[in-house]
Symmetry: C2
Subunit: 426 residues, 2 copies
Amino acid sequence: MDQPTGRKRKAAWNIPATRIAKNTHNPIRKIVDGMKLTPNPSKQMIALSIGDPTVFGNHPLATEITDAVIKSAKSEKNNGYAPSVGYEKSRAAVAAYYTCEEAPLTSKDVIFASGCSGAIEMCISVLAEPGQNILIPRPGFSLYKTIAESQDIITKQYNLLPERSWEADLDHMESLIDGSTACIVVTNPSNPCGSVYSQEHIHDILRIAERNKVPIIADEIYADFVFPGEKYFSMASQTCDVPILSCGGLTKRYLVPGWRMGWITIHDRHDIFAQEVRQGLTNLSQRILGPNTIIQGALPDILKLTPKSFFDETIASVKKVCDITYAAMTTIPGLKPVRPSGAMYMMIGIEMDKFPKFKNDVEFTEAMVTEQSVFCLPATAFGISNFFRVVLTVPDDKMITACERIREFCATHYCTSNGNGVCEIK
Amino acid sequence: MDQPTGRKRKAAWNIPATRIAKNTHNPIRKIVDGMKLTPNPSKQMIALSIGDPTVFGNHPLATEITDAVIKSAKSEKNNGYAPSVGYEKSRAAVAAYYTCEEAPLTSKDVIFASGCSGAIEMCISVLAEPGQNILIPRPGFSLYKTIAESQDIITKQYNLLPERSWEADLDHMESLIDGSTACIVVTNPSNPCGSVYSQEHIHDILRIAERNKVPIIADEIYADFVFPGEKYFSMASQTCDVPILSCGGLTKRYLVPGWRMGWITIHDRHDIFAQEVRQGLTNLSQRILGPNTIIQGALPDILKLTPKSFFDETIASVKKVCDITYAAMTTIPGLKPVRPSGAMYMMIGIEMDKFPKFKNDVEFTEAMVTEQSVFCLPATAFGISNFFRVVLTVPDDKMITACERIREFCATHYCTSNGNGVCEIK
Ligand SMILES: Cc1ncc(COP(=O)(O)O)c(C=O)c1O
Ligand SMILES: Cc1ncc(COP(=O)(O)O)c(C=O)c1O
């Protein structure tokens, strides 16, 4: 067959990837891939880097959770297509679980997504156009930036203040808002900080949103994952005026990140999202048709039957590791841990001037792998430097060993000035 | 707190949805929502419109499939995060299942996605930039257009020819290619047509792709779903030269659309995708972190243990309904069914001039609901007019009743010219 004339034919195969594909990169991957992570062969590797509570096997699942899934699978009632926003019955169960007087929910306010990641992707995509900006926390979970920048949405990072238990710097936050600010992302409780915001701090953030008429994406995947004595407030429970898209799911509190069961709850007392945003979210849900239906079908049982003791035990175990870690880290010269109140992480500051051998947190944590076979994520992965993040879902004994090794590592490299501007290894 | 000066503050809440959210619309929904679908109250509704083989309960699942999922859930080994492209072991199982001498596959050629829809979204997103165009079949599955247009990718529709069992119009296809054509989407077996392409026809399409150096997205979600005596050839098995992204999954053949277990297999013998496209797909998989891990964990068993008899029974049942339907439709004056060779659909042409009361297929099918309580999708939903699509996964008795009602409907409205240009109801 001859080639019709009048149009260009490519002479050779040359297939680039698109910008969106190239720009969808996880900064954590990039940093970790750039590190020389060769553990000390005489010490077994301890990874304090992985935000997956299932990897060490020390957090057993409540049998009720697995049983609900088995029942759902056996029923063979949950194999067909669900509505793209999710089964009505299952969305009603989420609404019933989270509804409260201050922030009432019905099934129509719930949209299912493929993990909290999928929920975040949909929320950013429905609110922010290419060229607009969104405010995200620094340090913060990297996905916000990954999603936004791949779609040519600009990210502006508001500072979190370690000296105020990682509260947002409110003046800084408000100073970043302009006429093109599409939303503020608030992560509470926080990855990587483990912070849990007080009611007052939430009010302060809400006032900024209200004053500037900017909606909030509340990443509340760690909702209720707070240590005994701490109190968690959802953003939506603290306002009648600011429209909020809250992102949640089973991932963290139910210890099943692989299940990809996430959701958006829409809080919008004045119908500000009613014009377009609700329909927009429904539209977006049609791209991949929601999460797995066996889990959707199990969800009402999971939410109803999982005993409180399961959460209490998980949190008690994380809290215990937190205490071990904090006690150790506060007594290591050169380190400054910030005490968390929830979630499963602790951020630890490095007084870099005391470790002149290392240029930054990346070199510091890299050397910790080489020498001590302990891997902590450098906070550069979360947008700030001179900190590292430790995951608190590891078994006690592993953490005790890890802390000893971190102590040895720091002692080896800690320097004090001898007054001549020369550094002395202690 | 005072408002810092020097930047615009919005005076009122006004939150539009983004273009991508607004533009992600399913044309089927739009058409169906625009139809007056009030069934005849004296006849029970029969929906021949839903492409979900589970809804009528007449296609039981193989116990091996459910058992594999229960085993995976019970093991509690598949609750954590999987790599975003999927568990290595499960990808290896898919590779082993589909590999053949002509199109070898290993686990690194397999990327998991949230359903075949998720696979299609990733493939289009990795290949086509906004402003570029992709070729899609007409009539065709609507998602290609939904995904592409929401991302400002242009779609050009190549005609399928009913008189050639819905083969592509090759000249038309090639005439649409220009320097900005990013890929050709080929659906085989086809929704909505039920067509299964011959080896020769696949070769013809591949020659066009090769000549113009345009890669192919092969939507092969109905792979192997062909009637006895027909033969299915994957696109990739017929070429060493054209790089192909094949999209598949458990959805159709395993009758579990809700599970959202889809995949991309990468076929690229000359490393044309090796430069960027492979990495781009991996990048994109990090947005939502792949499909549910319980299903991923069950996949090796599902692929290995599902007995051939399960597929044979499903297909025999669909074929039986196909024969019933075809036999009926060929004898209804004014209708012209096109015989399918696979998948689960039949397209039926309407000689519109014989039904002057109705302007088009939408009005025709709408009236069929009003009068006969039978709902078939007007082919306008798939990009062409004067056809309707019938789903073949319904129980025999329902289909027999439906055919009788369609016959009655057509008889009621069929007109022959009386020679005076006036139409006479028979
Ligand atoms: C703050 C935060 N949001 C969202 C996610 C993603 O959750 P999912 O696994 O449900 O997508 C994570 C996971 O680590 C997280 O830390
Ligand atoms: C041709 C075609 N491709 C893809 C899909 C979507 O498959 P999935 O449900 O796995 O996303 C369908 C569903 O009907 C289809 O007909």
